[in-house]
Symmetry: C2
Subunit: 327 residues, 2 copies
């Protein structure tokens, strides 16, 4: 399994990818990461791509491991200036070092480069050891239909829902703005089609992996590829590994359990996406349910505290891929 | 003389305007500043307006008085990031605090505000005590035609000529890119037409005041206004008060003397712009020459070391305005 393609969200996705890189350093595998771009936004005239940057910084060793996101050694001098001018979102932190990335990205985009090309250019600096691709070059941004204090329906950007409201507001649905006129990045589709194995990281199944899959061309590529598609449960013992996947699943009416999310992705043999599904041992009781749904499933420890933990999960996913592919 | 309108460049212009403000605080006059925008540029996707910012920071008390330009307490963390990404001009300093202004300005411009509106909005924070206007809302940028090392003619942005080359390169001419399709800002024209007196600051007569005057509508307004137009020599004893006016004057073939610059602006009675001209006592020997050219001229100390120095110069200019206006 030389070519491994991973669909991933931001911080959790980065942890999973670091494990894959650790494994690949031993086996010589090549890793391509297709990252969620649904959280992207224009903020004060700058293009911000939270998930791409989380992965880039983490793989480049520049992430803030204590805080869990953003750059290590970050400061917020520019942000304070913007607040003084009354510009931007005061509740959305734009660190100075992080702003360097946003400014560089925006300058390159305005020169006419695609987001795929820009990401490649930015990664030259960080040597992430993987090929990092945005899921699309188009601006497809996740918005959230909420009910505000006066009972009115409002559409707000996902980052406002997530960072400002912490998802703690009556929520009707997620909307992918710009989806209709978009397409998946050709490089991302090709990475799925030419892979030896495709892994879905234990990222948010609704607003990270779900948003990638919603892009025109991605689901078709996942169904067409000769590679087995193996996913890792982002739910352990009825709770999300990190983030607010439980709230997001509630919005789309899916139970917060490893089995329910597996069934939400569905068995590839029955029109779904999965050739295999990994759950944590605490959820081993759900394995028969998954098998009955046609989804080959195994249990192994899914907590990613170290790169070695993540590497073991990736190794388990590759083993399952070998089993489901058959002799 | 209640309404004073000043045409000004950046750092030197700011010193002159501070003096005018000091004087106005005693007399109740209202000051409007029409600032040069020819040095403006798009840099890494951000709109940078050096002269507007120099005046805004200086009048707002936020300028770096030791360095002579930019913000006090400045740092360059973001700039180092841009350099690491290979984006931007490494020789053009973008301070973190200054970047806050550029980002805020760019965000507001992209929302559709004119530069005049944006400047007003940014000034809300700084309380400059004067009305600060850009000379134009259009993008008219000064470029410089130089001869490069291999003898080829090149057009470079003024800031590249000024900051990177320090003007020390064979120079053919200055070009106002975008001038043909531009017009002066309506507010700037109105400020000239409705003034009781118009002052030309001792800023660079070629690339600061000269660039403002070159804008379609400005020279006509200066010739039409009922207000006397009084200018202050930027040349003292054959040398520029600050900056590289000597090199700029050389490029357009004007001698570096108070009399020559006065004659370059010309007597309003003879198709030029000036109703009066102030020179330093060291240049008093040139007064007869100026009078013969039809330009009423007086000498008084023109060095601006303190706000009080500048206020005395403005007071002298207002006195001359009263004299030339007649009874």
């Amino acid at each position: 399994m030389k070519r491994i393609t991973i669909l991933a969200g931001g911080v959790g996705g980065a942890r999973f990818v670091r494990g894959a890189r650790t494994l690949a350093q031993a086996t010589g595998a090549e890793i391509t990461v297709v990252a969620n771009t649904g959280d992207d936004l224009w903020l004060t005239g700058l293009r911000v791509c939270p998930d791409l940057d989380s992965i880039m910084y983490s793989l480049g060793g520049a992430n803030d491991t204590e805080r869990g996101w953003g750059r290590a050694g970050e400061s917020e001098r520019v942000s304070a200036e913007l607040t003084a001018y009354g510009v931007g979102w005061p509740w959305f932190t734009l660190g100075d070092l992080d702003l360097g990335t946003h400014i560089a990205r925006t300058a390159l985009l305005r020169e006419g480069l695609t987001l795929t090309e820009v990401t490649q250019r930015l990664c030259l600096r960080w040597n992430p050891g993987v090929r990092l691709l945005p899921a699309t070059n188009d601006e497809v941004e996740t918005h959230v239909e909420i009910v505000d204090g006066s009972g009115r329906t409002q559409l707000i950007h996902f980052e406002e829902w997530w960072v400002r409201h912490r998802g703690n507001v009556p929520t009707r649905r997620f909307v992918h703005r710009g989806l209709e006129s978009s397409s998946a990045a050709p490089e991302a589709v090709e990475a799925i089609l030419s892979a030896d194995v495709v892994l879905l990281a234990p990222s948010n199944p609704v607003v990270s992996v779900g948003t990638i899959i919603a892009l025109p061309g991605v689901a078709a590529a996942l169904r067409t590829t000769a590679a087995p598609v193996i996913a890792v449960s982002p739910i352990i013992g009825g709770s999300p590994v990190r983030g607010m996947a439980d709230i997001c699943l509630g919005v789309i009416g899916v139970d917060v359990s490893a089995a329910a999310v597996g069934q939400h992705y569905g068995a590839r043999t029955q029109g779904g996406l999965l050739d295999g599904w990994l759950v944590d041992p605490v959820d081993a009781g759900e394995l028969p349910l998954l098998e009955r749904a046609g989804i080959p499933a195994r249990s192994l420890p899914l907590w990613m505290n170290t790169d070695e933990d993540s590497a073991a999960i990736v190794a388990g996913a590759l083993q399952l891929a070998g089993e489901v592919r058959g002799p």
